[in-house]
Amino acid sequence: MNKTKRVALDAVLAAIALLLFIVEAQMPPLTSIPGIKIGLANVVTLFAVYYCGKKDTAAILFVRVALGAIFAGNLSTFLYSFCGACFCFLITCLLARFFRKKVWVLSVFGAAAHNTGQLLAASVFMQTISVFWYLPYLLIAAVCSGAFTGLCTQFILNRIQNRKDIGQ
């Protein structure tokens, strides 16, 4: 993939991720517990890890989190999603090569890391560790939503690989 194509692809992926993030933020919360959502934007992150490489993924993720906070949030949501995204990215990159054929497993680990990162941010931000009482709720949510987004990514990757015209 040449440089121009790469930049264009990254930009498109960042735009898709941002759109998913904003649309999801408009939906009513699924539960009364803050922080539980499907995490559709993670589909793009996972896809990028395999399709574009880690450096590009980091760029896409940062652009999405920063612009997402501008369009659909505020400073505190930025802090939370930034910490969550960092944890999620680290775990995803570390484990990516083990789960090429099982993206849903990777996605669950990423989602769990994301939620743990958010709780860490919340505990520092609110200066209390009592937020960790939410961890079991968030872990259950991470398994469900992570499996879903991971399966989505798996399907996309399988489709893309069978099409040479989109091009590596």
């Binding site: 099982k102 709720y137 499996a147």
Partner: protein, 124 residues
């Protein structure tokens, strides 16, 4: 496909692992609900100020403390206001059956417990 990747654990293995995680989490949630309960214990400076059985509260009322105002409602308790600039305890929201609200500047703790205790020495 399956034969090539037979070295890594199968999908079934991971499904079992994640199912176990979910079961453990649910067990933990249920246990923590069992061991906490309807009694809100309010302490300031490590001294117990009040124990309120939230299931017996029928009308909302406030408890003014030094620096904070606590709002007691049927089945719920929350910090209504605080004189500190950051308002962390106010933003911690409502307690129903688990958890605690901590106000660091005024050293106030609201904690949910299962039953009423006689002069619990735990200062939190």
């Amino acid at each position: 496909m399956k034969r090539i990747h037979s070295r890594s654990p199968s999908n079934k293995f991971w499904i079992a692992v994640f199912a176990a995680v979910i079961v453990l989490c649910i067990a933990f949630i249920l246990l923590s609900k069992m061991f906490s309960g309807h009694v809100a214990v309010i302490t300031q400076d490590g001294k117990e100020i009040a124990q309120i059985d939230l299931s017996r509260v029928t009308e909302s009322y406030t408890i003014p403390l030094e620096g904070n105002v606590i709002l007691v409602e049927p089945g719920a308790i929350r910090m209504h206001s605080a004189n500190c600039p950051d308002q962390i305890c106010v933003h911690q929201g409502v307690l129903h059956d688990t958890g605690r609200i901590v106000c660091l500047p005024n050293r106030v703790i609201i904690e949910m417990k299962h039953t009423k205790t006689q002069a619990d020495a735990k200062a939190g």
